[in-house]
Symmetry: C2
Subunit: 310 residues, 2 copies
């Protein structure tokens, strides 16, 4: 028995935009259309999309363009989940409280849905950034290439699968987490920050922040895998151990993993403070740090359950 | 026994660029790196890449940018082949005279290799077009979205797979061929033509040309499937019938399919002539039409074997 997430609130502009910009239409083949619809109609908590939207608005993007950029980054994320769940990857049964797309609509429609979303994401970014200066657009393309390609999401997933065949050393766990989850923060934080044309110092701090947040997010997700029930995360619990996937709690033990998380949140907090001191425009990063990372680390320290928004 | 294609000529700038721009590096996971390497080291005849390169050079692109655009379009094509060959799609055994990537390196590495190539293709296009005027870039993004997404390559593949479960009517065969192969000509012809900022009339003629060429190319490919031996195409012959995939020769019979091809080549020829009359810059299209389509249709009329460059 699987408890589906509550229906997404259609009045929320981001939730509505996720469906509005989706690649659909009357001529789309039925299974492909159904796979895309399932993917965009049941988003998670949209953590990354909200970060992108807040950043783009603060950095002066047109409201429509801010929505397009936020939806594009979420489409990349949704596509990576569709593919990660495939039998040849994680062979997942459920995702966000629903039976996985490839198990409902077929493997080919799930793969094609992921491609359609990636393709539409690039188009949305191209439209939203068309009026940006050349250096901003070049930096944005470099960021997407680094975050999505062999140095980022795609490469991290390949290492993740290879890990399942090799040795589970903590060093490797960290490297894989940095590539995969770090890449998603590169997209959610560094990418929209490029609209503000960050200075060299700001750019380095933003990149460091993405690394710390990525590792901290992965650590929270690993805790979630270990302790949370299927009902609460919408994912089957304890899969990492079953699949021999890298998991920080398994690698370092509970006390070690807790210390590691506290140190990462602390390091991220110092980066955020330095950025906020540089320009008040970065304060949305401080707000997210406190509301998400500090709050979740506190819950964990009190032995409460972690609420990870995947 | 499978005869591999001859090693690609590394002195050819396009062949060299295909490897040079590939998403690789010492930190890339071994199976993923091997899958990417196999895909870019054994290109076909690079029909589309040569068209894009010729167009970009004629329309005034910087030589490096012309190479980047040509390689990008070829990467989209290679990625679509990697995915089409998967067990959940066409379940192919060989491609271009080699055992398919997913059978050598695994399904997950093949899927991830396709994603890495798509991602790199968008980056190459972003870099190569960074200096183009806003209307050219917006039109280019619209073209990519239409050609690659649910209205193009991805949507065509979904219909193609659905066809295998339904009825094989000629009308449907044409529609599927238009979506899939037409989309690749949109990328190879219409996309680089945007650099020349075509007039409304030229734009409509270019789009019609892509449709005719796409259908004619698919017709030649269908003949190839029916008559060519495995040795000559590097693909297993007669797969369409075995897989119940749409094939014009099966749908219309040999005589009907031959007449259909002749009519398509004739229609394309009239579009090309009209374009050449408009601006001498379009003469590279006329050259390709004569060297590829007219020549292959003539061979077929003489009952000789068709040389399709897939």
């Amino acid at each position: 028995m699987v408890a589906p997430h509550l229906p997404a609130d259609a009045r929320d502009p981001l939730t509505a935009a996720l469906r509005e910009f989706a690649p659909t239409g009357p001529l789309v083949e039925a299974r492909l259309a159904a796979a895309i619809d399932q993917a965009v109609a049941h988003p998670g908590k949209l953590v990354r999309a909200r970060l992108v939207h807040a950043a783009a608005c603060v950095h002066g993007a047109d409201p429509d363009h801010a929505l397009q950029l936020a939806v594009a980054i979420e489409y990349f994320h949704i596509a990576s989940l569709l593919l990660d769940d495939l039998p040849c990857m994680d062979d997942a049964q459920t995702r966000r409280g629903l039976v996985c797309a490839h198990r409902v609509h077929g493997e080919a429609p799930a793969i094609l849905a992921a491609l359609a979303l990636i393709n539409r994401a690039y188009a949305l970014i191209g439209f939203a950034m068309a009026g940006e200066p050349v250096p901003v657009r070049l930096a944005a393309m470099g960021c997407l290439d680094a975050a999505l390609g062999v140095a980022g999401l795609v490469g991290g997933q390949a290492h993740d699968l290879a890990f399942a065949r090799g040795e589970g050393r903590p060093r490797e766990v960290g490297r894989i987490a940095a590539a995969k989850t770090g890449a998603l923060f590169w997209l959610a934080v560094y990418f929209p920050a490029l609209l503000a044309q960050p200075t060299g110092v700001e750019g380095r701090r933003l990149k460091a922040l993405c690394t710390y947040w990525g590792l901290a997010f992965q650590a929270l997700d690993d805790w979630g895998d270990v302790i949370a029930s299927r009902l609460e995360t919408g994912k089957a619990g304890g899969r990492d151990a079953a699949l021999r996937r890298p998991n920080l709690v398994h690698a370092l033990g509970r006390a070690g993993a807790r210390r590691r998380l506290a140190r990462l949140v602390d390091q991220a907090g110092r980066m955020v403070a330095a950025l906020e001191a540089e320009r008040p425009a970065w304060s949305y990063l401080g707000q997210f740090h406190r509301e998400f990372f500090v709050a979740n680390a506190d819950r964990l320290a009190r032995n409460a359950e972690v609420l990870v928004a995947a």
